[in-house]
Point group: C2
């Protein structure tokens, strides 16, 4: 893995000085091209051995390129916000926008590697984290990101020489810290586990670039040329006449008997107002006590609400929040993404709202919009919403692995019931805001949505996180079923 990086590469001063001005100019030009077009982000990861020039490279990139278009993030130990969430959360948060550079110093690779080096993880845990990384980078790459990963290399002998040299000079001795020597002591472990990690993450989407770190001139030109070439190739590709991103996979067909999962539901349920009144507060009390259970502090709750327009999502959500401590929950209404959100990978705007330990986040519409409205309206390309099923399952899996309890509801009403509710809303002054032109337009696409919902349920209902289909023509029944489901699920998790 590191062979080529140990054969003493060197560039002399004259050659360096000749090449640099041209390189810098080209880099700036291409950086501005990227900014102008703003169709994908560039993520640069800086890793490798201490003393191999990682810090200098960070400074170099900020000097050679326009630093105002680069987001440089050096990750330290996670703070308590980050510790309370899935480990990839803080990297999601710092992703660069389209048209910009993001440079990560000490990224998810450092967590993964040093946990292993210091014995905090075993081989299995190490490999699981590596798999998280593979999926993350694959998702980014599919989303268009250009990922450039540098590993700056030094042999152990060279590392010692370099650290000693810096330490001897009083003007530079401050650059060598205790950690550097600690890592030096562990050189062979870092090398061994590093090699394993690099091998498994050397994917076609995001290959590693191993750079001999000894000679500053060689190192700097390598970095500059790598970035330049990678960007040039990418921009050339994207310049090519836009081919529609289609999918080679077999198409999704509607069931030939035209019978859908939703048709199997009995949407009208007989619950009376009296029955509702007698049960609702008890269920709320039960829910309240469950969220105060000591073991809940080690978990978190994500409730995802989807359903037909006018199916009663808002009312159901309010019956839940009434039972919760206002300081412990958030309701996130999901509408069209903002400017900032459109510039990130599509799941970014859901990651940012994840609850910490002991907290509840309720999504009023969710990431499933990708395979519902975005599919039906054509806002997402076929290849993009097709891969979303996998990405969604992966997302929910990561939450679940982190102790977050995820429950997702589809509130189903019949076509006739919806029509009645729409008409009622238009007649009632203070309900008028709930009905828009768009709702009427969606109604016309009833069959397309039925197909999309059916595919969604089939492809994303898992044993651990199944879809809960709620018969919602009777709102009393729906609210009780939802509250009861939440209580039962929490109980099962907390008493497991």
């Amino acid at each position: 893995m590191f062979e080529s990086a140990e054969i003493e590469h060197r560039i002399d001063k004259d050659e360096f000085n000749k090449q640099v001005p041209l390189l810098r100019e080209a880099l700036l030009d291409i950086q501005y091209d990227l900014k102008e077009r703003a169709d994908f982000p560039v993520l640069i990861l800086i890793h490798g051995f201490d003393g191999a020039g990682r810090g200098e490279t960070m400074n170099l990139i900020n000097e050679w390129l326009d630093p105002r278009l680069i987001r440089t993030v050096a990750f330290d130990a996670p703070n308590d916000e980050a510790r309370a969430r899935p480990w990839m959360w803080r990297y999601w948060n710092e992703l660069p926008s389209k048209g910009r550079f993001g440079m990560f110093f000490g990224s998810y690779y450092s967590d993964t590697l040093f946990d292993r080096v210091y014995g905090k993880s075993d081989w299995d845990a190490f490999d699981l984290k590596i798999q998280d990384i593979q999926r993350f980078e694959h998702m980014l790459a599919q989303d268009g990101a250009l990922i450039i990963k540098f590993w700056f290399h030094l042999s152990q002998v060279k590392q010692k020489k370099r650290l000693k040299l810096l330490e001897k000079d009083p003007a530079t001795s401050w650059r060598v810290t205790k950690t550097d020597w600690e890592h030096y002591e562990r050189y062979s472990l870092i090398r061994k586990f590093g090699e394993h990690m690099i091998r498994l993450t050397n994917t076609a989407d995001a290959p590693w670039v191993i750079v001999d770190g000894e000679d500053a001139n060689f190192r700097s030109l390598t970095v500059g040329n790598t970035i330049l070439t990678a960007l040039r190739n990418r921009l050339k590709q994207v310049h090519a006449p836009a081919e529609p991103l289609t999918n080679d996979a077999p198409p999704f067909l509607a069931p030939i008997d035209n019978k859908f999962i939703l048709d199997a539901l009995t949407l009208d349920q007989p619950t009376t107002k009296e029955e509702y009144k007698s049960k609702i507060e008890k269920l709320q009390g039960r829910l309240h006590r469950l969220t105060r259970h000591p073991r809940f502090a080690e978990h978190a709750l994500v409730l995802a609400f989807e359903g037909n327009d006018a199916a009663g999502k808002g009312g159901s959500i309010r019956r839940i929040t009434q039972a919760l401590d206002a300081r412990r929950y958030n309701v996130v209404p999901v509408a069209a993404p903002t400017e900032e959100e459109r510039e990130k990978p599509w799941l970014w705007r859901f990651w940012r709202h994840l609850p910490g330990k002991g907290r509840v986040t309720i999504f009023d519409r969710t990431w499933y919009g990708r395979v519902l409205v975005e599919r039906v309206e054509g806002f997402a390309k076929e290849a993009d919403w097709m891969r979303a099923y996998y990405e969604i399952n992966d997302f929910e899996h990561q939450l679940s692995e982190n102790g977050i309890i995820v429950i997702k509801f589809w509130l189903a009403i019949s076509n006739e019931e919806q029509l009645e509710r729409f008409n009622l809303r238009e007649k009632t002054g203070f309900k008028r805001f709930k009905i828009t032109e768009e709702d009427w337009r969606n109604r016309e696409k009833w069959d397309q949505y039925r197909l999309a919902v059916s595919d969604m349920v089939d492809r994303t209902s898992t044993t651990r996180i199944p879809w809960v289909l709620v018969e919602a023509n009777n709102k009393y029944y729906a609210r009780l079923k939802i509250l009861e489901t939440v209580c039962n699920t929490l109980e099962a998790c907390l008493h497991a």
Copy 2:
């Protein structure tokens, strides 16, 4: 203060049911007006005694209005991110955007009141926090925010009755917590200190609305009507023919001898390259050690860079960051505000970047843009940039009070030196990105900027946070002076 709230207000059910539909419709209409116009935010604060209907009111507002346009934030104990920053930081972060509602449950008033009630603050500390609040709300109001503060009241007898009633019913007993009874025990303290706090923050900008909390119908209608009337009045005002927001204060005049503070500087300084080389790394080492000093972990450092175009801000900043641990600093390049930033009070985009304890944030251009480019180019109204001097001093004061060391540099070059640098930049390929049409246009306004800089220095240079004017025709001299100033200031603070 609470007299009118103890005379048993009551609205009967029929009257309530008659009024509510009209009120809800009117509220929704006006909420959509606000959204459409998006020229100011509405901040609603919910306070008062436990059991007086604060939680119910929060739910009510989310039910009567469109909750997708309301940002409801219930503040719990601050997390470690918040504890590492000035106490108002987390409230700044959650401010609503223009056109939207923000509802704070347990805002800065709760921190202030309960610290006093539980004896964590004395009268002086209590009053200091109240002053912070006064200035904060004044700033928000000047910025256009509509602030509606509710205090829900109950006498101690009524509070006991209400808590007992809830507790007796098994269906609602979960609503009464230990904290409620703890607060009940401290009723007279909460009342006494609450009254003091309310009195001092009952300003013309943001008066309190005291609401009798006993009868739910009375309470709900009062809240609804207050919000409706406040919004109606405000929207009427803003609808009136736009009068230019001018300033009654005496105008700023240029000194009649046309002699400015910057003219007193000797911009050319004799430092040679050799002198620079012999000193720079030692200074960097000193800076590095200072940021590793144990006492620095209790502080933070904010460096603010302003100066003429091409005065060498970027180069100076790099000489500083080279000496810092990449995980402990951030460079924030300040350009035109983003969509999100434009929708908040103007200082919001600087608050969000404040460093936590032991960290460094470097602003490449700063909040002083308000009294420089925004003044000269007319992007800010006169009244707005005039009040900015006060707001900036207050902002920096809050940082300083929280242990943040603030150092601000003005890098000054002569008109001739600037011309030379501009020409050089245009000729050098990889420097071309640093020079734009705008720079040339700014040059033509040299005299206006000279006046603005002079006013800025006069009005915002304080003993604690003075402007450091840097003679920058010679970049070696400038960089050494900056590094030395940072080191000396840190040393003085850490060894004080």
